[in-house]
Amino acid sequence: MNVKQLLPLALLGAIWMAGCQSGSKQYEFQGQVLDKNPATQELTVKHGDIPGFMPAMTMAYTVKDPNNFQNVKAGDVIAAKVVAAKGGTEYWLENVRITDESGRKTAKGGSVHRLDVGDQVPDLALINQDGKTFSLSDFKGKAVLLTFIYTRCPVPTFCPRLSGQFAKIQDDLSHAPDDFSKTHLITISFDPKYDTPPVLRKYGLAYLDNNPTGFSHWDFASTNASDLKKLADAFGLEYFEEDNQISHTMDIVLISPEGKVVKYWGTKWTTPELEAALRQQAKSAPAPAQGRAQRKAG
């Protein structure tokens, strides 16, 4: 085989390699930009179905190219390629094109104002998987890791991933009695109509290896729509229902034993990172809280 014969093969190989992008996958993407965050170079986009990646959803995407990001405004309808890597846990937009600018004036501007780091968390009543009422102040003296989900979430890199990560942290901490006693996990559903206490209990048990004693360290809760909105606004979570599913951003909050916001995660994090931060906060906890134990016993 001479060089001329090899050339087409080499060309095909190069095209194939370029398409692979180190195991990443690319999907065509269209949607409307609802919000723009220059600090993180992210666009929150309400998009349609992306077969093979995720159903219609509203979520934040990083745009890697700063020039590409700069041109887009909230309200624009865009087309782009979404690149998904590492099993879909990392994704970003490339080649963003504005296809319609007419929505710029009507688009919602700015992010929901959330609590700053160091602010006291709100003390709203929540109802857990056993139908018992509690509030975040019940956990003073413990470091708390809190997140939001809805049990019907079909996107594996969203709610199932969050719950899977919390399950790993729960499992790890159960082997460290001191940290276990000074920490608590809370998963809050923003779909209270569907996620009643029995539904949350069933969902929680799936992530607790069917062991209900795990609920003493991990609550699955919700509340009425009004308080839920207040809580979501306080922690910067955005969600809305459409087509019988809920579009939402992702939000994990670390709360200190004094009941103050320590840190948020919204787009990039790992389980070890969350666990290390929670354990670090637990070190400043004076002693296991008694109030919580009494509530569970009651």
Binding site: P51, T151, P154, V155, P156, C159, R161, Q165, A206, D243
Partner: protein, 112 residues
Amino acid sequence: MKRTVPVCFVLAVFILMLMLCGCSRRASEQRGEELFDLHCALCHENPVPDLKKQPPRLEKLFESPQLPSGEPATDQQVRKTVLEGLRTMPAFDKRLSDRDLDDLVAYLHTLK
């Protein structure tokens, strides 16, 4: 005068009906495949990050007497699982119509 319908005409209608049934079935499976790609493949054909127990693959789902859950491998049980969810699988209640479920189950039957 007694009128008779030619045999070839009856045969042609019969073949046409068979073809239409065939097309209809294929259309259902095709639509089921699209629904599968959109809703099911995300978890059942790719590793789900951070999940302790991975969702099972669904090839030959109906070739075994039992589903991976241990329940009988029937259309009714599969529909129930999809609607209500199972363990870490979310419920697709209110998201898939009866026709969606028909098409999805039709496609699942073709997975070999």
